[in-house]
Symmetry: D2
Subunit: 344 residues, 4 copies
């Protein structure tokens, strides 16, 4: 099932994502030149058939023109690597940024490389640690010609049509049904990926909230402290359920309206850790959610659900503490409610 049109690609950054992209490409008959600061990562892929590069210059030297170099790097390292690379590349070469860069940086970078006629493509890449077998959803921005030239690469990385039923009302054209899409000019790929992650925040929060309601469906069975500060449960008889949250996640995977990969993953985590004791619940946010809300505000589009899902992550990390203390202070002032500091 190898590709009809084998190509050569340079991969810079061999973390989990970068290494698996290389593997998926090589499986399908593409040739890869690989580079990472960590030599052992380079050697491992060399052992699997990739051509090892000892430096950025070496990588560039080993690529045929017009070159294609894919960056799969932490956001903070992209710009310096790109600066260095720009000195080494020739006109008509292409760089693909496959990480989670801010789309506004893409616009700037593409403009900086344009005078040298180096093509810069931004490629939002979704799929996580499962992409090697499952394929990666690709959201691409940049000029039309280099995107078309690299089509065999994108096609191999993407999941392919077989990974989901065809959309009934849709005519079978374009690349979207294969799991990759040229979304528009520079930045469009990361713009769509950014919003994708915003949607992800909201969906994750919905699932988490729902499962939490089910986990606490036994509220009527628990003793509550009866004091002036705590509302008693009016109808404890309506909250007497001890429901297995993991079983619920599992049953929702089939036939239900909320069926989704996120529910699949949740069911898997709950199968291992039935009350999720293994997790701290300090939920990071890595930029895209913030940028999504900012874009929505700039556009004047109401996105209260995504905005709330974002701020909830801040809450989960304790960042709302000062605000909470303001509330305690006010309650103490007007009602004499004693909420003196109990945290050590």
């Amino acid at each position: 099932m190898a590709t009809d049109t084998p190509m050569q690609l340079g991969m810079i950054g061999l973390g989990r994502m970068g290494a698996n992209l290389v593997r998926r490409l090589m499986r399908d008959g593409h040739r890869c030149v690989v580079y990472d600061l960590d030599e052992s990562a380079v050697r491992e892929l060399e052992g699997e058939g990739a051509v090892a590069a000892r430096s950025l210059g070496d990588l560039v030297a080993k690529l045929e023109r017009p070159r294609a170099a894919w960056l799969m790097l932490p956001a903070a390292v992209v710009q310096p690597t790109l600066d260095q690379l720009a000195e080494l590349l020739d006109p008509d070469d292409a760089v693909i940024d496959g990480g989670n860069s801010y789309y506004r940086d893409d616009i700037t970078r593409a403009a900086q490389l344009a005078p040298r006629r180096i093509h810069y493509l931004d490629c939002g890449t979704s799929g996580g640690v499962w992409g090697l077998d499952r394929g990666y959803c690709l959201m691409i921005g940049g000029e039309r010609e280099p995107v078309a030239r690299l089509d065999p690469i994108f096609r191999t990385i993407a999941p392919g049509t077989g990974s989901a039923e065809p959309t009934p009302s849709r005519q079978a054209d374009g690349t979207a049904p294969q799991g990759y899409l040229h979304c528009g000019p520079s930045g469009a790929g990361h713009f769509v990926k950014m919003v994708h992650n915003g949607v992800e925040y909201g969906m994750m929060a919905s699932i988490a909230e729902g499962l939490s309601i089910i986990e606490h469906a036994d509220a009527g069975l628990r003793k509550r402290t009866a004091d002036a500060e705590t509302t008693p449960l009016r109808e404890p008889e309506a909250y007497q359920y001890e429901i297995d949250v993991g079983e619920v996640a599992e049953v929702w995977r089939r036939g239900s309206v909320v069926g989704s990969w996120l529910v699949d993953l949740t069911a898997d985590a709950l199968a291992r850790s039935p009350h999720l004791e293994d997790f701290a619940g300090h939920v990071s946010d890595s930029g895209e959610g913030r940028w999504t809300v900012r874009a929505a505000i700039d556009e004047g589009v109401p996105t209260p659900v995504i905005a709330t899902a974002l701020t909830d992550r801040f809450e989960s990390r304790g960042l709302g503490e000062f605000g909470d203390r303001v509330l305690s202070a006010m309650r103490s002032e007007f009602g004499g409610h004693a909420e003196k500091r109990s945290r050590p």
Copy 2:
């Protein structure tokens, strides 16, 4: 691929859901007695092999003991039908409410039927108009024995294990991997279904908000009226994208973290109506979302995303109008902002 253990079931209510349940059951070798106020619906299923009943009494007469009668009725009709049915049934018969009843009503109903030893099961049924082929996700509440007795029925209606990959970390036990689950005592099934719909509200809202941001990514290309009441877009150059929302939904279906049945359906709708001109956007809510938020509040569980998704539906139907006018009034008072009535 017929069932090993054919059973007989009475179906009361032959709307789209009820009729398709009967078809799915008969396909698998079960026998069905069917009743509806609309005689043509009865006759249609009779033509497909079901036994027609002319009345509730007739249906009860045609069922073998211990009987199993499934109600698939609008919420408002469940109680009167049940009252009538209770007079006709015998001890050890079972009634399954497959509609969207409030779980608190289930608790009451089961208690009312208990003295006659009639079993009442509540069965949340998800799958919509696609369930005939895709199967229905079933969330069941009630006593253990009648749930076990009716297992062949639930197994046929549910999607089956083949409808999704196995959960890697899970041992292959229980019925959840087949798409049906006995969640707990009376009401537990509709409780889980209620929360399911709450999760659905949040997921739908997340997707809708995200696609809306993408649809408006051309904000920098549009002329904005420049007046004191409108904030100018500070960086119009960052909003110059004309992105095809339907293509985005399609590409998200494969390999992405937001992959879900709801995205599948959205892609389908957008394939037919690229800017959704066919839809009014007055989004109904049918009870479960409201009940979900109420349960969360009773339990003291924070569910800001689901709550916001719910209130947004109220907004979409214009129910926030008075509040908006209060805001206009205040702004007029303190700032002299003229926002006089422009609606006819």
Copy 3:
């Protein structure tokens, strides 16, 4: 400045609110019979001129007919006290519940007392620990006649017209400008008080959030850990302010649009505890916020701000922890994000 029409009132419950109501009434020339389980509270007010009662029966015996008895009790004690009292009172007597009862209980209680022709008034009482001098805002529900009869009592308790400038566009009629209002039939008083508290939640949250943004305006001065899980601040130069939050609260008290009693109280708390180190930030909610959101949902009125303010209080008490762990689990599943349990 004593009242023209001195009356007699029985006060049951001599906590801070009840005791201060008695003092405010006696200052204005009314006579009070007082009762509490805590004898020292009774004796203290006896020393200030009240008539002491040793029991509910004694209190009833010492009141002239038609009697007026005001309950100022924790929510949980209202019903049993009322049951006992109902046995002792005579037709045409009136009971006023001045606490924070759920308005639906008022409807039930009034109906239960109606056959004995005992009048039950629900009276939402706002003003907290400051009401003795400042007066209390009263929101009253119940029949017209007893409300009218007790007008001198309400008038004394309320702040009076002098406590705020007249509303320019308003004609000087009714009692609202004096700070008390007959809102409607049974339950209407506590309904309005319930919503008042819901509004209070939202206003408090707004102020707390705003001050928190100002407290953190030095974000660009702080070192942030640079790892893949933490978004770096893109423009640290825009967050270099070390602003004194207490001074801000103080300046907002005068002439600003956000001027309010809550800002007054916040300024006072910050004057004593400049970073609110004295407060834990575990914010209780005492029922009215929950009931407000439930009422909004029943009515189909969008109240996302009040709902969010409510669920934030749950968050402040750690009730969102399970949901947060679901998020951590999902992130771990799809991205290999390590968020293992760090809490002890």
Copy 4:
């Protein structure tokens, strides 16, 4: 009651705010030179005692050195005016921007003027159309020396200590108790004003939501269409109140916890327009709310209430329509819910 230290100020921009600032200053004994593109505005204030300027150059010529020029202009006009003014001013002159500029622009502007040793102060000014008599709350950013030099001006414009009771726990120092505050270096004034407006959004939304719940407390009296798409009200007997919202706003003005200038203004609007029929409810947002949420996100501070209040304003102007149509489309897909376009 004239100021002890009369000063001279140039006012550029004689809209409602600018003109009233001039009047308030002149009342207190300060001298003003005034300029506006609209000559009639200049002439009107000349008639009241101000010195008229025919151009920016004329204004600068008529001011004594070191000059103080206050800009009270629409945001879009500030930069060009400032550019022109910078050419005319001399070292040690000061410009005060009293409008609603984005604080990041202040930082830039101050830096641009620094080489010429022209001082740039940003001064957030709250008080709306009522400030002439009530005074304006001033939040000031910039260098210490020019702020100190202009103290008599700020003191006159601010409301003064008499406008609110002293904060009990506070020592009587600083200027905040008079209603003006030097918040910090350039931008700090508009930063605090920006957040002030964010708080204002949240408070306004809370009040609006609460009054809307009260307005709809008669939900149980209204006929609802009974169809599958509409949830019937379960307990109509709990929503039988016809409460006068204007009276409620009035009573909340005195003694209640929600007492605030915004409630005062709402009561006034309701006194004129009892159901607010005069207002369209298309609520503008003028930048500060958006910037506030952006600052919160940058800082990582959770502000779900302010964010929701902002997005609700977008909703009120119909900007959520595309998202709503996505929801309709999904519901149509999975449930066959007919929600075809009904808007003309």
